[in-house]
């Protein structure tokens, strides 16, 4: 049978949203992450899994523009021109982080202003981007609080008065209000009770789908990876040892380390 398979025209989008080439970060002699390359397409959710110390958080920091890698390139195609995020001025990188990018930290205290009300936290990115109409900012904040299931009556409360799960949902609203194209999440459900995790995961799943977000999620929890991600990269000692479709990697792991990782959990 003579068939032309996997022709180029099957490509759904003209170009990847994020192209990562040869990203490496070293701490002296020690490898943080080494020679990581991949493309991320609009609407795709990529999981990075591995044990603590595997380099997944280091990689995320390099990808998210927080830590400059020692080698490699991170190219973002969210605007008119592709942006090499480590060759542009810091100002441009910061602008990107307030607009087309979002970072959800594991600890909500790292991503929220604890002395500013919930509404102010959500409205900040809008004001960063020039919004100067109080009522409109407040309406947008209310809309987002409702989307992350925080009661409208809490809009003027400070995050300190919120539970851990609510703080995390608030952090997500604060990031998503600027309608980013790409969101980085570092253990977004870490430190939360299992029941609270489930709610947050479901919320994230729905938001990611409805907004068509591309996301990179670092987690050590394979169940989180299974529920939220399309693709998976497995990291060990700073290297990507296996990658592919999430269910392929989890159900038919090929690398010894991935087999160990998937057999170490009871059910995923």
């Amino acid at each position: 049978m003579n068939m032309q398979v996997n022709p180029q025209e099957l490509t759904l989008d003209p170009a990847p949203l994020l192209s990562v080439a040869g990203v490496s970060r070293f701490y002296g002699e020690r490898i943080g992450c080494a020679d990581v390359s991949f493309d991320l397409w609009p609407g795709e959710v990529l999981g990075i899994v591995g044990e603590s110390g595997s380099g997944k958080s280091t990689l995320l920091r390099c990808l998210a523009g927080i830590d400059r890698p020692d080698a490699g390139q991170v190219l973002f195609r969210g605007g008119a021109e592709p942006l090499d995020i480590y060759s542009v001025a810091e100002q441009e990188r910061r602008r990107l982080m307030r607009t087309a990018w979002g970072i959800v930290h594991q600890n909500p205290r790292d991503g929220l202003r604890m002395d500013v009300s919930a509404g102010g936290n959500v409205g900040e990115r809008l004001m960063d981007n020039g919004a100067r109409h109080y009522r409109k900012i407040r309406e947008a904040a209310l809309d987002w609080l409702q989307r992350v299931e925080i009661a409208a009556g809490r809009i003027d409360d400070r995050p300190r008065q919120f539970s851990g799960g609510m703080q995390q949902r608030l952090q997500i609203a604060r990031v998503l209000v600027s309608e980013p194209r790409l969101v980085f999440m570092d253990e977004p459900t870490g430190g939360l009770d299992v029941s609270v995790q489930a709610r947050l995961l479901d919320l994230l799943r729905v938001l990611v789908r409805d907004l068509g977000l591309a996301a990179i999620i670092v987690t050590h929890d394979l169940a989180v990876a299974r529920l939220l991600t399309d693709r998976l990269m497995v990291m060990k000692d700073g290297h990507v040892v296996e990658q592919g479709l999430t269910d392929q990697v989890l159900d038919d792991p090929h690398h010894a380390y991935t087999q160990l990782l998937t057999s170490a959990v009871l059910t995923v």
């Binding site: 102010g120 981007n129 109409h133």
Partner: protein, 308 residues
């Protein structure tokens, strides 16, 4: 350069004209020039020890010392008044060290060093306002890291400042900041106008006078050159507003000046009077009479010029 050697019968110690040595003055003048060139930008300078504690106006005094000359006439106000301790000491300091003529009349002064107020009388071209600044960084309470606030200024990332105003309106229905109300200078830098009441903010807008700001403890100098835009931050649907009072000044009947509340007896009786003492006196001299002028005069709180 006038040196006060004073080695003979005078017991004054030897010091340079206007107290600071010439090198220091030059350094401060260079910082001032840079500040004028970049309106609203905080220029670091090598703040010196002065013969009073930091936080008592050492920044303003150093700026005044660097610009004052024998032809200048100096006015010093503190809380709007010319006769408060701090104002009197600073005025005396420059009388002694710089042979300065001093005045309480706003229109006669060439240099007006101030804490907390801008005079009510309109400023003129050629006059210089010198503000004493405790905290030059308007973003400091919001962002404690200096490295970060510098970046925020460098790239005009002022969303956070707006968040502060948002918080005020959300909590109290209006912006409750009443003094040191942040301004945008020349459409570029957000600046702390020093702890003047927001009532005075509009006086900075396009002022014909040169405005210099000195923060001694924080080692920063900044400036607003004449005829520069100074806009108070606000929201489109919550525009900036100045304070207003229900009654005019109890002494001079001024309806358009900034009033202080003064308790006049131990029964809790009070009156509202001009904070700018010179302005109030001038108006009274012109025959303006407030509702409580006679009573206040009877208590020897003020002199009633019209009294026989």
């Amino acid at each position: 350069m006038t040196l006060h050697q004073s080695i003979t019968e005078d017991t004054k110690p030897a010091y340079n004209y206007a107290y600071l040595d010439e090198q220091t003055k030059r350094m401060i003048r260079r910082a001032l020039l840079k500040a004028v060139a970049v309106p609203g930008y905080q220029v670091p300078f090598g703040s010196r020890e002065m013969p009073l504690a930091r936080g008592w106006g050492t920044g303003g005094i150093q700026v005044t010392a660097a610009i004052i000359g024998p032809d200048d006439t100096l006015k010093v106000i503190d809380q709007g008044a010319d006769d408060t301790t701090n104002a009197v000491s600073i005025r005396r300091f420059f009388e002694r060290t710089a042979d300065a003529r001093t005045t309480e009349a706003t229109e006669e002064a060439t240099i007006i060093q101030t804490r907390h107020r801008i005079p009510e009388a309109p400023l003129k071209a050629g006059q210089i306002m010198v503000y004493q600044v405790p905290q030059p960084e308007p973003l400091r309470k919001l962002e404690p890291h200096e490295a970060e606030t510098r970046k925020m200024h460098a790239w005009a990332e002022y969303g956070l400042m707006q968040v502060k105003l948002y918080e005020n309106i959300a909590r109290f229905g209006e912006v409750t900041t009443t003094y040191d109300y942040p301004v945008m200078v020349n459409g570029r830098y957000v600046m702390a106008p020093s702890p003047i009441p927001k009532f005075d903010n509009p006086k900075m807008q396009m002022s014909p006078a040169l405005q210099l700001f000195g923060a001694g403890r924080e080692k920063r100098i900044y400036a607003v050159p004449p005829h520069t835009s100074v806009r108070s931050l606000d929201f489109e649907d919550h525009p900036f507003r100045i304070q207003s009072w229900n009654e005019p000044c109890a002494l001079c009947a001024a309806a358009d000046s900034y009033l202080d509340e003064v308790v006049i007896d131990d029964q809790g009786a009070r009156m509202f009077v001009c904070s700018d003492s010179h302005h109030c006196e001038t108006r009274r001299a012109e025959g303006h009479r407030g509702a409580m002028l006679a009573d206040a005069s009877a208590l020897h709180l003020v002199e009633d010029e019209a009294k026989p």
